[in-house]
Each structure stands twice: as structure tokens, then as C-alpha cells.
């Protein structure tokens, strides 16, 4: 009789253990994927100031604002950044005379001191309007893009009244 009770107990306990939730097997995976990526961010929208009749400039001293573009890369040596200042208006009143464009692209800030050599190592293209940076370190780099447009081909003619827009191009090209 005792043997029969023991057998029932063993079978019962085994059955219960099989029905119990198994905490050790309740595994929830958190999966992640790290891939190289480049993000172009417009941190500061620039605009032109109009210090005199024949000049439009982003210089703060002339009531303009220099646009700041941030380029983030998650992997070293995967991308190059190509930043260009404008060389034409994307929209403007009808202009009968020449506009002389000047500008500069510079590294304004970087997330790592390793990037301090970016400006010196950069090259230019498109007659100097485009500056090319090899992004050899992962992280964020801020580029300032100043622009000056002078009307009249050196004759200092007044810009016609109206709205003027120009485009800064920020490119991130996989290497």
C-alpha cells in the first residue's frame, strides 16, 4: 500500500513539475543591429543680412546668420562629407547684372579631438565652392558655411528689391 502511495506521489510531483512555468526558459531576446550610417543635420538655419544695397551676407556683424550643418557618422572611414557654399540664387528677382559669390566652409566644432585635423586635411573642388572632408573618425562634426553675394560685378550696383534664396549643399558620400 505504501509503495502504491509513493508511486502516486512520484507520478503526481513529476506531472506538476512538467506543468509549472519554466522561468529559466522564459528568455526574451533584445536584438540590435549596428550598421554604418551617415546623418546630415541642419543645426542652424542661416539667413542673409543686407548691410548695404549691393551685398547679401551671412556674417553676423551684418545681421546675417551663418548656417551650421552637422554630419554624424557611426563608423570611421566609411564616408566623406562634401559641403558647398552657394554660387547662385535658387530664387530671386530678375537680375540683369553679375553676382559675385564668395564663401567659406570650415569645421566649427567636432565631437572628438581626433578630428582636429579635418580642416587642414580637407580639399576643395568646384572652383573652391565645395570642400571635401574625409571622415576618418566616427562621431559628429559641425561645419559652418558662410556666403557673400555682391551685385554688379565689382560696380557696386544695388540688388533689385525682392526675396532672395540660395542653397547650401551638404553631401555624405560612402567611400
Amino acid at each position: 500500500m505504501n509503495k502504491l502511495i509513493t508511486l502516486f506521489l512520484i507520478v503526481g510531483l513529476t506531472g506538476c513539475s512538467l506543468l509549472m512555468p519554466k522561468k529559466a526558459e522564459a528568455v526574451t531576446n533584445i536584438n540590435g543591429n549596428v550598421e554604418s550610417r551617415c546623418t546630415v543635420n541642419t543645426d542652424t538655419t542661416g539667413y542673409y543680412g543686407n548691410p548695404n544695397a549691393y551685398t547679401l551676407t551671412t556674417l553676423p556683424a551684418s545681421a546675417g546668420q551663418v548656417p551650421i550643418v552637422r554630419v554624424d557618422t557611426s563608423l570611421a572611414n566609411a564616408y566623406k562629407a562634401q559641403i558647398s557654399y552657394p554660387t547662385s540664387f535658387s530664387s530671386s528677382p530678375s537680375l540683369g547684372d553679375t553676382v559675385v559669390w564668395t564663401g567659406a566652409v570650415a569645421v566649427a566644432q567636432a565631437s572628438s579631438t581626433d578630428m582636429s585635423g579635418y580642416q587642414a586635411a580637407s580639399t576643395t573642388a568646384d572652383g573652391g565652392a565645395m570642400r571635401i572632408y574625409e571622415l576618418v573618425h566616427a562621431g559628429a562634426t559641425w561645419f559652418s558655411v558662410s556666403s557673400v553675394a555682391t551685385y554688379g560685378g565689382g560696380q557696386q550696383k544695388a540688388f533689385p528689391g525682392g526675396s532672395y534664396s540660395a542653397v547650401v549643399t551638404a553631401e555624405c558620400i560612402a567611400q
Binding site: T42, Y48, S165, V167, V168
Partner: protein, 123 residues
């Protein structure tokens, strides 16, 4: 009184970003025997842009013929759009870059606006 401050904070505090993945896509077989395809993804965190133009280029930046559902994609703010790009097998070996370029709206004040372009590379 507070409106200009709020507007200033929105303009100065907002971050506008654009990215495209993968960085190094690969051409795969497609259901069209004479074409190959790849899948790309664009993420738009630029409130000022909703349209992105897709282009495929060779190593000298000459445009190559390709097919996608829309060559100018609408990518709403803070959304991600996946798209398939098909190319004739004849050109797939020549294809070096696939790019997405923001399409900008005209604006009426003196703001220069930023055109962002991201190019992935076939290796």
C-alpha cells in the same frame, strides 16, 4: 509675449536630419529575370523637407537608368520609408552610388536653405 520666445526655441532647438541606409547595399536577383534589385531606407527628421529624389550613378557620377516606385519619394517628418530600386542587369555592374537628395521648397525670405544628399555605395 511668449510667442516669439516659443518660436525662437522651436527654430533653434529643432534638429533637422536625413539619413539613408544601408551604406553598402548589394544588388540581388529580382522577379524580373533581366533586372536586379536592392532595398533602401530613408529616414526624414527634417521638418522643412518631405520629398527626396533618388538617383543611381556610375563611378564618374553619370546618371544610370533605374526603376523605383517613385523617383521622388514622399517621406513625412519623423518617418522612415523603404523602397526597392530595380536596375537592368546590363548596368548593375556599373552602378557605384545610390543617392537620396532632399528637394527644397522655395521660401520668401532671405534664408539660404540646406540641401542634404546622402549616397550609399555598391562595393
Amino acid at each position: 509675449m511668449y510667442r516669439p520666445v516659443v518660436l525662437w526655441l522651436l527654430l533653434c532647438g529643432s534638429v533637422a536630419a536625413h539619413d539613408m541606409t544601408p551604406t553598402y547595399p548589394k544588388w540581388k536577383m529580382s522577379f524580373i529575370p533581366s533586372a536586379r534589385m536592392t532595398t533602401m531606407q530613408v529616414f526624414n527628421k527634417r521638418a522643412d523637407v518631405q520629398w527626396y529624389q533618388i538617383g543611381v550613378f556610375d563611378k564618374d557620377w553619370n546618371q544610370l537608368p533605374f526603376v523605383t516606385r517613385y523617383k521622388i519619394l514622399r517621406v513625412k517628418y519623423l518617418s522612415r520609408v523603404k523602397f526597392d530600386v530595380y536596375i537592368s542587369s546590363e548596368y548593375s555592374d556599373e552602378a557605384e552610388y545610390i543617392c537620396s537628395t532632399s528637394k527644397l521648397r522655395g521660401n520668401d525670405d532671405f534664408k539660404p536653405i540646406v540641401e542634404s544628399k546622402i549616397c550609399s555605395r555598391f562595393k
